[in-house]
Symmetry: C2
Subunit: 240 residues, 2 copies
DNA sequence: CAGTGGTCTAGACCACGGA
DNA sequence: CCGTGGTCTAGACCACTGC
């Protein structure tokens, strides 16, 4: 394990167990260097992680402070909410001990329209898989997904792959690495068909997440639109 | 201007002007060190910025690559969408040359309920300003905001401040610095009153953004709930 | 095995905050 | 003024990719 991860994890643990409370000032960089026997830059990198995840704020000239936040509020679970948004529906819900099912509504090979082809870096004559799935947790339909994946990037997709976790297929079977996702979020209403598949009344507001997924070398591998029911929440931290 | 900012800005410009195209490999770290006459760590920091903003991907052992993305897609404007989400409604829309108005629906001093008081680090007997505003751009109502701000942190708020930009009041008049925001996003329907104020039909889906804002020393200064109409989109980039 | 990016160091120097 | 965190360097070493 990297040194800066050890430092970040340990300081995070000390915040979680109450040694450092909201609004407390943390030890100075120099003190942390001594405590963990690492250099200043390593402490800096560790603290930058905690800033990125919203646990602390640092101010030149005055010090580092634990953010005034209760664990009971917006800030649920381990505090690693952002990263869980990259592991996929199945892994996320199974980690919570929920029963996960997937209903494949459609699975075909198509030429995506030009907007989607552009986003995926595809020529007009290339093919992509098109998958429409309803994801179900504990017998309650949660979300309907419409996904396009270029065949040249994600080859040989089969029925058995798409009824489980496509992310696992990509990372474990194909040996590729998922790097990042660009998302646009809106509020929408279900179509008649969606209301039926998601088992919600017509007029129920849904959270739409449009996403382009990228491999770790920057290649786009997925364009998907998801319509989330059941009061799904998206969590995000911004920094100046 | 810092060296890593110069490097990051210049590489970003070279991507924007087409010198580096989507899926191209960037110069190696060593080459960039020579081009800009800086050290390896400075190039690393500059490239980390670009990774964070979704422009490039880096892979140990093989190189750095421009992400396969058109400017015309999700990736609008200057590519700095995330950071614009920290400047407030007025500054954001005036930067687009739009006429901005604010209708103050309510302005009072209250004891917030215990959940909000907790999130703002307030004792039960403390007071907070409560503001309800409708923000209007080019004569079209865009969003209705319900905001709580602790008086101890944001003192002496007046009518004239809330009809402009509260963020400007905090940063320019009070001399405080805004640091970060934690947001939770859902889809909701307007109440009857909201539909009227936002001038949308009942049943129009709205994007709800619940937010706790923090100063740069980690003090929470704002709890707000916003209901956005007009197909407002929220943009976000996640990394593994 | 060569080439790439990632981590880490010790130490110099700078910018900012607050008494 | 001192104490804080931020930037930057030169260079050592490590980890991963891909031929």
């Amino acid at each position: 394990m990297l040194k800066y991860e050890i430092v970040a994890d340990d300081v995070r643990a000390r915040i979680a167990n109450g040694e450092f409370k909201p609004n407390d000032q943390l030890p100075t960089t120099e003190e942390l260097c001594e405590q963990y026997d690492v250099s200043k830059i390593t402490v800096k990198k560790a603290m930058d992680e905690l800033v990125l995840h919203g646990l602390i704020a640092r101010r030149r000239g005055s010090g580092s402070f634990v953010k005034g936040l209760d664990d009971t509020g917006l800030h649920k679970g381990t505090g690693w909410n952002m990263s869980s948004q990259m592991t996929g529906f199945k892994n996320e819900h199974e980690a919570l001990g929920e029963k996960v099912e997937t209903k494949v509504e459609e699975f075909s090979v198509v030429h995506p329209d030009s907007e989607i082809a552009d986003l995926l870096g595809m020529e007009p004559d290339e093919f992509a898989y098109y998958v429409c799935r309803v994801r179900i947790a504990n017998d309650v339909p949660q979300v309907i997904e419409y996904t396009y994946m270029p065949i040249k990037t994600i080859p040989d997709l089969r029925e058995k792959n798409i009824s489980g976790s496509i992310y696992d297929y990509i990372e474990q079977d194909l040996g590729l690495k998922i790097g990042s996702a660009h998302r646009t979020i809106r509020a929408v209403l279900p179509t008649g068909n969606e209301a039926e598949l998601l088992d919600v009344p017509a007029g129920t507001p849904l959270l739409e997440v449009k996403q382009v997924g990228f491999l770790d070398d920057g290649t786009p591998f997925e364009y998907s639109t998801s319509h989330h029911a059941q009061d799904y929440e998206f969590y995000s931290i911004s920094t100046h």
